[in-house]
Subunit: 191 residues, 2 copies
């Protein structure tokens, strides 16, 4: 059983809280106005836009030491929808890991639209959360939370694979924004 | 109606020939031993590994002028399965386009395993071919070939998006090789 703190109360944060709450886990949901609230979770999900990560880490970096920290961001240039805001050979997750050397940083949830996290399905397929990271125990803990919520979890490899997960998230957002896929669809994973 | 030349007779070349042949198109399949055979197609699919592209372009570059050329490669380092062999901000398709300035270069078919091209399905989902390129007419021509074969085609954007398509192909190959997805599964697209 894990205690999960979710920083961010948008669509994604609420959907992830719903998933964690379905299993035998406890959930703390921390909003923008909760700056004085201490992060109590062993697993902390940064359910915030890429642009907000830096300030949250500046405020809460000490609190995140020793914890599993999950980056879900898609660091897309939303003005052009034509590039990412991170170095081509890097990722937002790599930046988070660099800023939080004493945390176990994972990339997850960025390849699934909020609606498919909430419903548990992409079309007729079980929603699959791809998890990348360098700490096997941290990945197993997050996979337990995901499967406890009725979704499928797949270990996508080391944190280097966050580059590919962010590329998938990027392309999927462009397909959604251009109405080539619906916000209840997108990429499904067939095992 | 298009005349499609496919260079490469492996699993992918044969699957793509099968797709093109189901529609009202004619197909020329060119193998390794057919070096003297002229490319007659208006659409030419390079169904060859990334490492073979350079020599085929050296041999046949003049023949490819004015044609639609489709790069299907996944430029993966198959020794390590840990990186791509192209610059992080580039793609194999960008290299092909640079080497063939008088062709209309598209990226397609690299996000679908051969078995899902042949069967037309990824699990219960219609196999979807994501097509990136800078020439709208060329993309429409290839989309016609794909849909004529019973598959779905989606315009994934400009040739810059080949970077993301190759990231998807890369990750999907790592998931296949590590048996996290089967070679009849992988990424499906739900519209």
């Amino acid at each position: 059983m894990a205690h999960v703190s979710i920083i961010g109360t948008g669509n994604m944060g609420q959907a992830i809280a719903g998933i964690a709450g379905k299993g035998p886990h406890t959930v703390q949901l921390i909003g923008e106005d909760d700056k004085g609230t201490a992060v109590t979770g062993d697993v902390v999900v940064l359910a915030i836009p890429y642009g907000a990560i830096r300030s949250v880490i500046a405020e809460r970096g000490d609190e995140l030491k020793g914890k599993v920290v999950v980056d879900i961001s898609n660091p897309l240039d939303f003005e052009t929808f034509d590039s990412l805001l991170v170095p081509a050979d890097g990722s937002a997750a790599a930046e988070v890991a660099s800023a939080l050397p004493d945390s176990k940083v994972l990339k997850a949830f960025n390849t699934t639209f909020a609606a498919t996290l909430a419903s548990g399905a992409v079309g007729d397929n079980t929603t699959t959360v791809l998890i990348a990271g360098d700490d096997a125990n941290a990945k197993a803990t997050l996979a337990d939370i995901v499967t406890g919520g009725g979704l499928r979890a797949i270990d996508a490899g080391s944190l280097k694979r966050a580059r590919e997960l962010e590329a998938i998230g990027f392309l999927q957002l462009t397909l959604g924004a251009s109405e080539k896929v619906s916000w209840t669809g997108g990429f499904a994973v067939v095992v």
